[in-house]
Amino acid sequence: MTGRSHTTEVLTNETFTVSSGRRGFRRALLINPPVYDAQYWARWSQPAGLLRVATLLKRKGYHVDLIDCMETDAKGNVPKGWRREANGTPMLLRRDDITKRIWHFGLTWEAFQHRLNSLEAPPHEVWITSIMTYWWESTRDAIALIRQTFPRAAIYVGGIYPTLAPEHARDNLRADVVFKGELAEASNLWTDLSLYETAPSYAILTTSRGCPWECHYCAARALNNGSNKVRARDPEDVLAEIEDKMLLGIRQFGFYEDNALVLRGHLQEVLELIIARKHRLNLYAPEGFETRMLTEELLRVMKKAGFQKVHLPFEALRWETNIGWNRRHSNTASFDQALAAAVRAGFKPRTQQINAFVLFGLPDEKLEDIMDSVLYVHHTVGSIIPMLFTPVPGTHIYQEQADYLHRERGWDLQDLNGKFLPFLEYNRRHYPGLRASDYLQMEALMSILNDGKFLSRAVDLCDESSASAAFRETLQLARVALT
């Protein structure tokens, strides 16, 4: 693509072409912008899509520069400072009875400007990745700064946010191009980590895309252009990518997939190649696996290949809740089966080798059910990962609630951050006294149950020991007394 327009175009893979030429014929600057949020987890947050685009652009002859504002230091931390209001005061988000400080994570704008000024030559094109839909404001601010610095450069924005909310991105970012969906040419390419001065300690792998299921809270279908097709890379190519990254000293890999196991045998094939090559790796899949597909055989292969942890999408205890989310392929019975298989395969419960997600913060949720889920996971697994729900454009729940969220509440996308509890007032229809601090306390409870470790194992308050029984009995006596 050459030239730039004054108005923002929304383009897709079908309407967009990456130009090519002799080596260095154009300069592209790739940017992962800072993040405004109350919290940020730097682990596994590499801008993998942008780094695949880097590979593509290099192949097309571009000179590529990268500014990853979210690059971590040696300890894995991202710099953070206050996000400030226009008058300079620290930005605070007051939500019911809680107040959250809003941070600017990543390079400061001054440091970002300095990096822009330090480039060898101005770029012809600036490619920006924009990930979470509720982070769009920092993308907007990055674009303003880039436009000021490089007025002649064309600015392209891609990623999850523009894919899920292209009109919003078009109307708010002032980019030249909002790219919706996948850039097919880059989809299966390797991430280019050579652009980092210091090689990262880990790499993200995407070996397959697509999911046949359509859970009401999940955006995978929308991110795959409405398709339920599942596509996978050649396992040999995945292995080659791993070995290439091992040359940089990387031994930790995170699999980021829509549904890694639904294509039966695919992941296992990749892992068996790793085992056959006797690579000593630490593998992770922080987004979890479909429990129905986690067989003991696969889990043993995972363990042997270097998986350190297993993440299980428990989500909710009651099968009706799962059905209500159109999650027909998974329930607690299949979770139990996967958990038992994981334990037999050598993953230890109560040590964070096995972890389970519990979803909360959804509209119409039953808090009693969430608490039951928490206790169940506490007892069976010991490590609960709290997942506060964010209504993401493109999901069924978002579509159902868009009127409420935008028209009734008057919120924009940045307000829908799960951490800001977008369904707090909604859920007061069932729980009139519900406060924001109750959600915070629910999260606190999960964290405390995880951290309550003794001799490296999470204590089980629901086991048969006399201590736990006495604890429960004391709670019951208090309950009766209060009643």
Partner: protein
Amino acid sequence: MLTDQNGLATLRTKDPEVKPILSAARHPEDLNPPDLLPEHGEQVLLIHPPVFDTRIHWPRWQQPLLLLELAAYCRTVGASAQLIDMLYHRSGVRLRRQRVSIIDLDGIKVNKWRFGLLKSALVNQLREMARSGYQPDKVYVECFTTFWWEGAAEVIDVVKERFPATQVILIGAYGSLAPEHARACTRADVIFSGAWPQIATLPTDLSLYEPHPSFAYISLGGAQRTAADIVDEIAWKHTHFQVQHFAFADSAIVERYANLYRSILELLVSRAVDVNFYALGNIAPSDLVAQPELAYLMRRAGYNQIFFSDDRNIAQNGYARAQLIEHYRLATDICIQAGFPARTQSLSASISLGRLGEDLAERASLATILAHHVGSVIFWPYQPSLSECPHIPLEEQNSKLFPLRNANGYLYRDYLNVMGLGAVLNSKYRTRTFDFLGDELIPRLFRDSIARHSWQPAEDVKGDLKLPMRVIPVVQR
């Protein structure tokens, strides 16, 4: 002062209830306490031995108070002192440990470690000293607690190998409480316990440490010292050694020295000495109920944390228990009003664990209730007296092994479970512990869920394993 609990500094010979005991292993005929003190012109070596134990709690709080007072005494009489503190380690550096054995506790295997400077390092250090012409006239070895005797025995052996003619004097609780054992199991020339009035009122000498520790114990010297003297010591240590953290070493400080303690706090406040204090088990909740103004003074004087004294001396009956809970409730209210933040572990209730005749369910229940009132709770493993477990080897009388467990009809695992409950009750989210007995919605939901036994749901709640299989529409590579 905490006595023999959790590896914290323990019984101090200056405590008035401890009767002087003088016991000579080699030359019993003409020794008396003053003869054992350093004398003018003498070279004195002070050694704090390594610790043999399954765990060592709060290693940086292990400071050999008696040795450091002896060091101060050396200055006053013109003797020269050198200190080898085998437990001393720089801040941020993990205390070195070596596994020495594996103990089987009712089927549970527990590692026993040797914590501290390596034996070979001590041997080398003494060799270097001897090579440079150093010949100590007296060597003092302080052993805090009876079940740590192995460290003292090891050190004394090493000293005796290098300096066979030097008089080795064992001081501290081990020799005091188990002199016969010490006589039989160590090569100390003298096993000494008792009060040295000459040193009781001296401030400890931290100058022998390099780098200087950030923590120091302060002793009231059996109330023989003045408040001004004590506050001067604190200010001096803060100014000259950059000591920031202090604890008073005296047990039951309010009960025994209320007036002096109050005067010290008032002076600290008026002089605005900017240091932090920690109460390590020498203040009872009832002290603050009886004298609530003390809590305000303590806070203003710089107290950061109060670990209340445990209930080992309180009768195991319902009335005493109810009174204890009420004292904790009131004391916590007072402390919070005085400015101690709630549920942040600035206040910790202490529960004795391991007494003869105890009911572990009662202990767990008490912990749950006290964690509700106070915010956090610590179990202090009960150290039985020698007479309570005469048939158990000294090193196995370690409170952390709960030596009376079988007599109580419990297994070691049962005690671990109670300690584990404490870990959950003290677990924090963003600096605050969770109140399982709180009135808010989430604790109520938690209790309701417990009542429903939700961790054991009926199978029909979980759903059917016969889940729909979906044909993958298109698969391409």
